[in-house]
Amino acid sequence: MTESLSVAAERTGGGAGDEGTGAAMMPAGRRRWARPARWPMLVLAGVLVFLYTPIAVVVVMAFNETGSAYRWSGFSTRWFGELAADQVILGALGNTLVVAAGATALSIVLGTLLAIGLARYVRSGLLDAFALGPAVAPDIVMAMGLLTLYVTLGFSLGLHSVLLAHVVFGTALVTATVRARLGHLDPALEEASRDLGASALQTFWRITIPGVMPAIIAGGLLTFTLSLDEFVIAFFTDGPATPTLPIVIYSLVRFGITPEVNALGAILLLVSIVTVLVAQRLTGLGGRDADT
């Protein structure tokens, strides 16, 4: 079983090495002791090739006239045109956006309040673990449990049931990012605000919330992206009349290679890249870069 995999990795490594050579040419780390081992850099280069070859294949096919992955027949935006005319996909896109936007909004409110509450009042780690649990729980278990609950309570299935399900992991994500940010904020700011005569509510709106705003936006963006791509929970908890985009992609992909999926994949790729880059800017990672 493993042979075919290593062959796959090797072959993709030999094929399109564009991304890989770039990484391999980076200066190998300057270490103060011993000779730096070179081979981990080669593994890193191989990993980047492994990660980006499939993505490159999708993008290339999206712009290929015949939609084939094997023979280039000329640049074309034809598949994007067909995509734009596909009522089923457009409808599903609308459904997905409704779910993602609603789930993100609700998750931001619940997650932010929860994170501030946990940071202020809770000393034990048990509630922390509970609040972050949905981020670790296997999606198939969550999907099954939620559908069981909906059916048992006689709750109707549709976009609303998917939305409520997505809020579960969204709340955990926002709680995690905001909680991390609160650890870096100076509590003396809130105290100073209160000492200067601001009410608890004023302090909350003018000091606490602006302080954690980057984390709220980052957590919200991550929730939005995850909800946009989420398949398993949506597959279980959605009603048949309102499929989300991943459900439609699943039904297309099951029946083999569909050129429209390439165009759709390329667009979704762009959306993900922009979102992750914006979220990255807003979280602490960018700041740490400046420190080191």
């Binding site: 593994v43 993505i55 198939i140 993900s272 990255q280």
Partner: protein, 279 residues
């Protein structure tokens, strides 16, 4: 702001839509359903006994082996990768980290679909192998257990690299220098200093790769062509098609049980090998 206003809404929401669903799975696993999927409200261990049927045990074993091989490959590839990233100049480190994480945020189904294209008999991998004369006829890579492992590895490798990177980045280089100065060989420094201190990170990565691999039903279906049945496929079919909720619940609990055991193991290990704090 009151404690209730801050903590109340979130905790209430998670209690109803996270804790209650899992409690429902636990509860239903002690019931039995008839041929039409109707539950009989009587506590029984019958569904646990049914799950021990060799047919289901074999699926569980296959899943554990496939998820295990995926996790092992992820550690073997992820460790040197994380090491290499930690050795990059700071400016490059962030760029490469983003590059590694980015595919994880792109659509899971589209990524899996790309592998259908790559592994196809007429696909580029088979073509290159024929071109260099390694194989005579087109090679069937798709719809094999190897294809499932490749897909799972592709989907979850970033989740291994990230915690490993954090663990390696946190290492105090002076510890290794001290070991070297005291005469330890490089291999020995790695085995007695570096490895134990990065083990908790590796275990976090292993959980992040192993657990979702175990419960995945899309990759075995799309890349395994239904020939490789994993526990995720079984749960999906028992729950949505056969409508045997109690059996599906027992199977889901087995995944949850494995997750809990791994989490406990991880927290024990990280306490034992707690890295020296810099604060």
């Amino acid at each position: 702001m009151g404690r209730l206003l801050l903590l109340g809404p979130g905790l209430l929401y998670l209690t109803v839509l996270f804790l209650l669903p899992i409690a429902a799975i636990v509860g239903i696993s002690f019931l039995e359903s008839n041929r039409f999927g109707q539950l009989r409200w009587e506590v029984t261990f019958a569904s646990f006994e049914r799950a021990l049927d060799p047919l289901y045990l074999r699926v569980l074993a296959t899943s554990v082996v496939i998820a295990g091989i995926t996790t092992l490959l992820a550690v073997l590839i992820g460790y040197p990768t994380a090491w290499a990233i930690a050795r990059l100049p700071p400016r490059w480190r962030l760029v490469v980290l983003i590059l590694v994480v980015l595919p994880f945020w792109t659509n899971f189904l589209v990524r899996t679909y790309a592998w259908i294209v790559l592994l196809n008999t007429e696909g580029p991998i088979s073509g290159v192998l024929q071109g260099v004369g390694l194989i005579e006829s087109p090679l069937q890579l798709l719809y094999t257990p190897g294809a499932v492992i490749a897909g799972l590895l592709y989907a979850y490798l970033p989740l291994m690299i990230l915690p490993l990177y954090v663990a390696i980045d946190r290492l105090d280089p002076e510890l290794r220098e001290a070991a070297r100065d005291l005469g330890a060989s490089r291999a020995r420094v790695f085995l007695t200093v570096t490895l134990p201190m990065t083990l908790p990170g590796a275990l976090v990565g292993a959980i992040f790769v192993f657990v979702p691999s175990l419960g995945n039903f899309v990759i075995p279906e799309l890349l395994g062509g239904g020939k490789t049945v994993m526990i995720g496929n079984l749960i999906r079919d028992q729950f949505l098609k056969t409508r045997n909720w109690p059996l599906a619940s027992v199977l889901a609990l087995s995944i949850l049980g494995i997750l809990l055991v791994l989490l406990i193991l991880q927290s024990r290990l990280s306490r034992r090998y707690a890295p020296v704090s810099h604060d």
